[in-house]
């Protein structure tokens, strides 16, 4: 059970308090109707899935309830950093 630093609670908390919410910084287009099928497919389905440095979202669902972003190495599972939703990509 990994430990995750919640940037809102500002402490490391156990994984089972959190829910992973997939890749981070996949912003919903402001005007979806203007999107081509390809662009919309990319938004809906295409994911980075890297071996190594990965930007992902977590929700401290059984804690402060907030969604936030994280950078984690998918080979070691170690977190590089976590930061609040809305903050620039790290």
């Amino acid at each position: 059970m990994i430990l995750i630093h919640c940037p809102y609670c500002d402490e490391k908390r156990p994984e089972i308090e959190f829910a992973n919410a997939g890749q981070a910084h996949v912003a919903r287009p402001l005007d979806p109707s203007s999107q081509s099928d390809e662009e919309w497919e990319a938004y809906l389905f295409i994911r980075a899935n890297p071996r190594g440095r990965h930007h992902e979202r977590w929700r401290h669902v059984h804690g402060c309830g907030r969604f936030f972003n994280a950078v984690r190495d998918t080979v070691t599972d170690k977190f590089e950093t976590t930061y609040k939703a809305g903050e620039p990509r790290r």
């Binding site: 609670c9 156990p14 804690g63 402060c64």
Partner: protein, 168 residues
């Protein structure tokens, strides 16, 4: 109608007493979910002190998240609706019940299923967390006393889990 309706609680009203720990149902109380972008907004509305730090409590108000507070008060208490303001005040008095876990083994009991290190959980602190798979809110009321808020439909399970762990 003459005779008033009586409350029906999901766990026994008589405390469960085991070696070093007692588990009992707290009296009914009013609960409100307070939401706003800042504590200040609420302080102005309610004109009471509202804790700023997540996990802190202040006069019955616990800060559970950056924009979320839990207010617990006696059943007679009333509160403004905040209508029209950038706040959300919602009555959740009956959403959960409160189990009082007290005694020298209180922390030990909670840690049978809660992954937090409650030895470092100072008196007055509050947090939403989890016991095995069930979400709870823990408030450390005193060295040897915790309040555990749990949604009603999970209460029977939590009572069974606590009492089983307490008798082990």
């Amino acid at each position: 109608m003459s005779d008033v309706l009586i409350r029906n609680e999901p766990v026994p009203s008589t405390p469960f007493i085991a070696e070093g720990v007692t588990i009992s149902l707290a009296a009914p109380q009013n609960r409100y979910s307070l939401r706003a972008r800042t504590a200040q907004t609420l302080e102005t509305l309610l004109n009471v002190k509202v804790p700023k730090k997540i996990g802190a409590t202040e006069g019955g108000i616990a800060c559970l998240g950056p924009d979320e507070w839990l207010l617990r008060a006696e059943v007679s208490a009333t509160i403004p609706s905040g209508a029209g303001l950038p706040v959300a005040i919602t009555d959740i008095s009956d959403r959960s019940i409160c189990l009082v876990v007290e005694g020298p083994r209180a922390a030990e009991l909670l840690m049978t299923g809660c992954p937090l290190n409650l030895d470092n959980f100072v008196v007055g602190r509050a947090t939403r967390t989890i016991y095995e798979t069930v979400e709870i809110i823990i408030i450390r009321d005193d060295e040897d006393r915790f309040h555990v808020e749990v949604w009603r439909s999970f209460a029977a399970w939590l009572w069974a889990a606590f009492t089983a762990a307490a008798s082990h």
